[in-house]
């Protein structure tokens, strides 16, 4: 089982990258949703 640490490192880092990317999409989506609400309210008020 020589180099098993390398295999685990590759999979964990790889999955970590995908997870962080998904979190970044979710965060940006949530920010945009708030921004859309704010703009809709501002257009309605004017």
């Amino acid at each position: 089982m020589k180099n098993l640490n390398s295999v685990f490192a590759a999979y964990i880092i790889g999955w970590g990258v995908f997870f962080l990317f998904y979190v970044s999409i979710a965060k940006r989506t949530s920010d945009l949703r708030t921004e859309i609400e704010r703009l809709k309210n501002s257009v309605t008020r004017k």
Partner: protein, 225 residues
């Protein structure tokens, strides 16, 4: 929303199943031993990344031809997803290379062309941040995207056309190449799992780009009032 959640759950299940198959079903490779198991994740990510760039290229051409926003949205979504997949390839490759070759990196044709590909799509995304006007941004980035895609066939052909440190292809590598039948099944299952994950990320990223366009329209409306 429901379909997106289902697709996400399917992608996660398939990726976990592919990892299980890579560790417990695929036989151990004789010369490299356990470290060869990175192959299923590394090459699966590479193929999915190339296909994401192919989607980006097709969308770039369609935008230049039809000037419809949906092609720009899908193009940028595919570029970003392809870039993430290529980042995984560039991380897992050196982790595999160190025990196999004794070095993390070498400037051979395959590794260099992959790194250049990564830089080209980083430039594609940076270019989009520099142009404010949406139609001009979409056209310029589409033109650049068509140029950037030229590197994809170079990455594919590098290990076929030139002698490289990177191993020769075992899939579509011509006579003498190929995998053990069980390894082959696990490999194509991993490729499938990575493609489902890619589709899920593309759908999510496309939705984000669509929302950005909605914000642009609302901002213009708010400014006009």
């Amino acid at each position: 929303m429901g379909k997106r959640v289902l697709l996400g759950a399917l992608a996660i299940l398939l990726v976990i199943a592919a990892a299980y198959a890579s560790f417990y079903i695929a036989p151990e490779e004789r010369t490299m031993g356990v470290v060869q198991r990175i192959f299923y994740f590394h090459v699966g990510s590479a193929w999915a990344g190339m296909d994401a760039f192919l989607v980006c290229f097709i969308c770039n051409l369609l935008y230049i031809w039809k000037r419809e926003q949906k092609y720009d949205w899908l193009g940028v979504a595919a570029a970003e997803v392809g870039l993430v997949l290529t980042t995984v390839v560039l991380i897992t490759g050196p982790i595999w290379a160190k025990p196999a070759w004794g070095i993390y990196w070498t400037w051979d044709a395959r590794l260099t062309s992959t790194f250049v590909l990564w830089l080209l799509y980083v430039s594609y995304l940076l270019l989009r941040t520099l142009v404010e006007e949406p139609d001009r941004r979409a056209l310029l980035s589409s033109l650049f995207g068509v140029f950037a895609f030229i590197d994809v066939p170079l990455v594919f052909g590098a290990i076929r056309w030139w002698r490289t440190q990177h191993p020769a292809p075992v899939i579509m590598g011509g006579p003498g190449s190929g995998l053990d039948p069980t390894m082959n099944k696990v490999f194509f299952f991993s490729v499938f799992a990575m493609h489902v994950l890619t589709v899920f990320l593309l759908v999510e990223r496309y939705g984000l780009e669509k929302m950005k366009s909605e914000v642009d329209v609302l901002q213009r409306e708010a400014e006009a009032l």
